[in-house]
Symmetry: C2
Subunit: 139 residues, 2 copies
DNA sequence: TTGATTGCAAACAATTTGCAATACT
DNA sequence: AGTATTGCAAATTGTTTGCAATCAA
């Protein structure tokens, strides 16, 4: 006599599995839909990623340009860490490093700001793209 | 006999002025349109802020939820600094602090990542909202 | 059975674009 | 004159919602 509870459905499972199997991929809802070969509806994909985000299994990244689709990536709860994203090639990488902890402590202590690592993405350029940029400027 | 050049128009001026007069405001295109009392069309506002962003006079911040309008803020070129934004109340603040410099140097030196401060926003909670959260959890 | 979930089609909202009229130089 | 800009209306796009059918418990 459970008063309320979530039902486990095939669709939910398939979508969650997709992310577990592709832990490093950073994909749009559209891409998930396509990868699942339309076995689930677009709407369901959106509802699922939203749920998974709030459950802490996924992270959502929204681009800066308008009309740019949001990206979702596997990143189970607790695994809190910053992400860095290259503005040129789009690469998204995890940033695990003690210095990050020092920085967030400083933010909290000196600026009264509690950083949410899961929600924050640092934008900039990766080594390769930065090198490319410098070269192009030279030419 | 200029071959090509941008025209200085009343609209462009009015919009740029708006931001210069409200240097700390962080507003949507809609808000600018409203503040200008519809003296310029919505389309023109969008075109202007886009131009001003590429000229380095403004910074653009895109929220994480879909359909959330982008925010624009005066922040003339060169004035590069990180911004922190509260996920609860939406407040956006400048973060000027030596530690930020140390952090970006570390990123470049140890991770080969060149942070673009103008494009990056740190998400988290401000002091007030964090306190509110703690209180609500207690209740 | 009861309530949650699905998925289609329609609704939405922010932003962009086509294009004719208009303003700058 | 010649070209950039304006601004309306219409188009786009990612995402959300209404709702009837379906499925899990």
């Amino acid at each position: 006599m459970a008063i309320r509870g979530a039902y486990q459905t095939k669709q939910k499972e398939v979508i969650a599995d997709y992310f577990r199997v592709h832990p490093d991929d950073c994909v749009t809802a559209e891409a998930v839909y396509a990868a699942l070969d339309a076995r689930v509806g677009m709407t369901t994909v959106y509802r699922a990623v939203t749920r998974l985000c709030s459950e802490g299994l996924l992270r959502k990244y929204t681009g800066q340009s308008a009309g740019e689709a949001a990206l979702y990536q596997y990143s189970p709860c607790g695994e809190s860490h910053l992400h860095i994203r290259c503005l040129d090639c789009g690469v998204l990488a995890h940033l695990r490093c003690d210095v990050v902890g020092d920085f967030t402590n400083h933010l909290r202590g000196q600026h009264g700001f509690v950083l949410d690592e899961g929600q924050t993405v640092l934008y900039g350029r990766c080594e390769q793209c930065e090198a490319k940029r410098k070269q192009q400027t030279k030419e």
